[in-house]
């Protein structure tokens, strides 16, 4: 019994008090700052080294929906044209805004990234229940999503929770590139959620297929038919990235 009290005291308060102001370590790779003026002539080393074809040159652009944040481009670039900052607030309602062009600042990105609609706030602002489906996810995104509900991040304080049944859910959170074998089950789960419902694509695999975009065993037809409401980039996204994206989206 004494040990229990000892444990309780040592445990202390673990919840991050003001999640909106939380910062992550410097080493974390988040929003990239791109400065094409530093590019050497005809150099496309960054494009060549990128494992997911997230980089285009002329003009230099980096697609956060394809980027796995491995930082290989930053390492290979001797002139520092690509620099990853530790800004983790990367969620967006607009796929195109994830394509970062030269000179774009984090503030500019943040301004236009999430379009908080009034009706979304009205429907889901106070309570949002989500069903998570892993469709070929490697368990990276899944672990980080599970972490959003732990004692540190405690997403439940905002009325946002993961639920077991799609019938109880207001939306679906998809991870993984959608393996062909999971495509039917994913569709079923989506259809089992009653309207109005939202679709959230978490992680680079879900947004663009990531490393598996060219796999013969992936079937991404789901996204041809069903539009995504919120994109959460990362490999895997930090729990704070997910929570921030959602809070922005539901207007909290």
């Amino acid at each position: 019994m004494l040990d229990l009290f000892k444990l309780r005291i040592r445990h202390g308060k673990q919840a991050i008090p003001n999640i909106r102001k939380a910062e992550v370590l410097e080493t974390f790779k988040g929003f990239p700052i791109i400065d094409e003026s530093k590019c050497a002539d005809k150099c496309k080393d960054c494009k060549d080294v990128c494992p997911t074809e997230a980089i285009e040159v002329n003009p230099l652009r980096l697609d956060l929906g394809k980027c796995i944040f491995c930082g290989e481009c930053e390492k290979v670039c001797s002139s520092g044209a690509i620099k990853f900052t530790n800004q983790y607030q990367l969620g967006s309602t607009n796929r195109n805004s994830l394509i970062i062009s030269s000179g774009k600042t984090f503030e500019q990105f943040e301004e236009e990234a999430v379009d908080a609609k009034k009706e979304i706030h009205k429907y889901f602002g106070r309570s949002l229940k989500l069903r998570q489906v892993s469709a070929g996810g490697c368990n990276g995104c899944e672990l980080e999503l599970a972490a959003t509900t732990n004692v540190n991040f405690d997403m439940g304080r905002f009325g946002i929770d993961f639920v077991a049944s799609p019938r109880h859910a207001d939306g679906i959170v998809i991870t993984g590139p959608i393996s062909a074998n999971m495509a039917p089950a994913l569709k079923d789960a989506y259809e089992s959620i009653s309207d109005p419902k939202i679709v959230i694509a978490v992680g680079v695999c879900s947004i663009s297929g990531g490393l598996f975009a060219n796999s013969n065993h992936v079937n991404r037809n789901f996204f041809d038919e069903i539009p995504v409401d919120l994109f959460v980039p990362g490999c895997p996204p930090h729990p704070l990235t997910f929570i921030h994206a959602l809070l922005d989206y539901i207007g909290k």
């Binding site: 494992p51 077991a164 993984g176 060219n214």
Partner: protein
């Protein structure tokens, strides 16, 4: 002795691998396994008009590996080894599924991964074992499960609350990883990142195993410093996951104090990994030829601080968890895997050690930093959920000691050495002890020194059957607890 004897990470020319007729190879396998060898790999490679089968056995006590091969023509069959040694059951099924070479007399020849049509283009439906009787019923779960976890289908045959049989259909996560390794053989960065994504909870484990295979094929001896950093990263991964598992196991028996305490400790550990490499799971840490990130003396002090505090915290939290009557009532004698069964079906990792099987690649077939620092093998006897939980606790303590030891012996050295070309026509097997158990990657190069075949085995491949066997005669409500006590990978299995 017809086998070629090698060590972990020792590459060997394809010419040196003996090739014999299968019935002779089979006799040899039976002899070796009877003498106490263990099956490590059994996989095929498609060649012009047939298939080559490679078999790798291990003599754990002497740190030796034995390889041999056999050729088959398309449509051949062979005498199954499974009736004699059950540890072959899944390997033979996989071989059949991918190449259509049938193991005659295999007692359980079912699909391994859903929808993989190696032989026919049609999908072979999975036929579940049917239990018939009064008041017998089936419970089907999945592919989508209740929590935030990966998909797989579970079919329980029950009588009342009691589970009599569980069958697990996997393959829902199949992404064609082995195929992608060969298709992208000219893109080393892609291959490394792909190896990190085999199982997202074993990033350092799999990426390290891949890197060591490539380093062996290019004779790249990485620096001592890089080795130490890799070892620290691997042990941090082990501690992080084990803490997460203890948290989840506490949650499964509604012991919220443990759930919260271990969960918070896990965050501290994975944030330490974040401090080193910028990813909580160790993405980007490993490079072929070394590591991408250094541990500065300032960071070293921080890590030491964190793990010293962690050591005390874990001890108190474990003391509280493992002395709680309500927890023990659920953990003890639940989901038992006896020592005999564990050996028979070829289990690996902490789950095997919890059933008293003393195997640990870190000490049996040392790799990287472990060839300089021997690891003592920890085992428990009872093989129940309690043992699989408790072994995590003692492994956390052990890993903390390893990290401290490694940090003390930090020497100067290059972080990363450039790799030269891979040796052509070579074979290498890279074994490592990830947090879940034995990871094995096998690489074969072609005449131009490019990857020709890449075979991956996550420890989950060895252990999924154990989950099915552990729940026999337990209540349905104990299934989540049994399952979590193994915490196996779906994506690592499905590939």
């Amino acid at each position: 002795m017809i086998w070629t004897e090698i060590k972990n990470l020792q590459s060997v020319s394809l010419k040196e691998i003996p090739n014999l007729e299968f019935h002779k190879l089979r006799e040899q396998i039976v002899e070796m396994i009877s003498k106490g060898c263990r099956l490590i790999q059994f996989f095929g490679e498609k060649i012009n008009s047939g298939v080559i089968l490679y078999v790798v056995l291990a003599d754990d006590e002497q740190s030796k590996l034995f390889i041999a091969s056999s050729n088959f023509n398309d449509g051949d069959s062979f005498d199954s080894i499974t009736p004699e040694f059950k540890s072959f059951h899944l390997f033979e099924r996989e071989f059949y599924e991918q190449f259509g070479i049938k193991p005659q007399g295999h007692p359980w020849l079912k699909p391994v991964r859903k929808g993989i049509a190696g032989i026919s283009k049609e999908e072979i439906p999975y036929e579940f074992f049917k239990m018939i009787g009064e008041e017998v019923h089936e419970v089907g779960v999945g592919p989508i499960h209740a929590g935030i976890i990966e998909p797989g289908h579970f079919r329980f045959s029950c009588h009342g609350e009691q589970i009599h049989h569980l069958e697990i259909e996997l393959g829902f996560q199949h992404r064609g990883i082995e195929e992608l390794f060969i298709r992208n053989k000219n893109n080393p960065v892609y291959l490394l990142k792909l190896s990190e994504s085999i199982a997202g909870d074993t990033v350092v484990g799999h990426a390290g195993t891949f890197a060591r295979a490539i380093e062996s094929l290019s004779e790249n001896n990485i620096s001592r410093r890089a080795m130490v950093i890799r070892t620290i990263a691997l042990e941090l991964e082990r501690i992080g996951i084990h803490l997460g598992d203890l948290s989840a196991l506490s949650g499964d028996v509604a012991y919220l104090t443990g759930n919260a305490a271990f969960g918070a400790l896990r965050t501290k550990v994975i944030n330490t990994t974040l401090a080193i490499c910028g990813s909580r799971f160790g993405h980007g840490m490993i490079a072929v030829g070394g590591v991408n990130y250094d541990i500065s003396s300032e960071l070293k002090e921080k890590i030491l601080d964190t793990i010293n505090k962690l050591e005390e915290d874990v001890e108190i939290a474990a003391e509280v968890l493992f002395s709680s009557a309500s927890v023990l009532a659920r953990f003890e004698k639940t989901g038992i895997i006896t020592n005999e069964i564990a050996k028979e079906i070829g289990m690996v990792g902490p789950a095997a050690r919890a059933s008293g099987v003393a195997i640990d690649i870190r000490s049996d077939h040392p790799f990287g930093g472990f060839s300089l620092f021997p690891v003592h093998k920890l085992t428990l006897k009872s093989g129940d959920v309690f043992a699989r939980a408790y072994i995590r606790y003692i492994e956390i303590t052990q890993s903390i000691k390893i990290i401290k030891e490694q940090l003390e012996t930090f020497s100067e050295g290059e972080l990363k050495k450039t790799s030269s070309e891979l040796k052509p026509n070579h074979f290498v097997i890279s074994l490592a002890e990830g947090w879940r158990g034995e990871i094995s990657h096998t690489a074969i190069t072609d005449e131009n020194g490019r990857l020709r075949k890449y075979k991956i085995k996550d420890p989950s491949f060895n252990n999924w059957l154990a989950v099915a066997l552990s729940v026999k005669n337990n209540g349905v409500s104990d299934f989540p607890l049994c399952n979590k006590s193994f915490n196996l990978s779906y994506s690592g299995f499905d590939l």
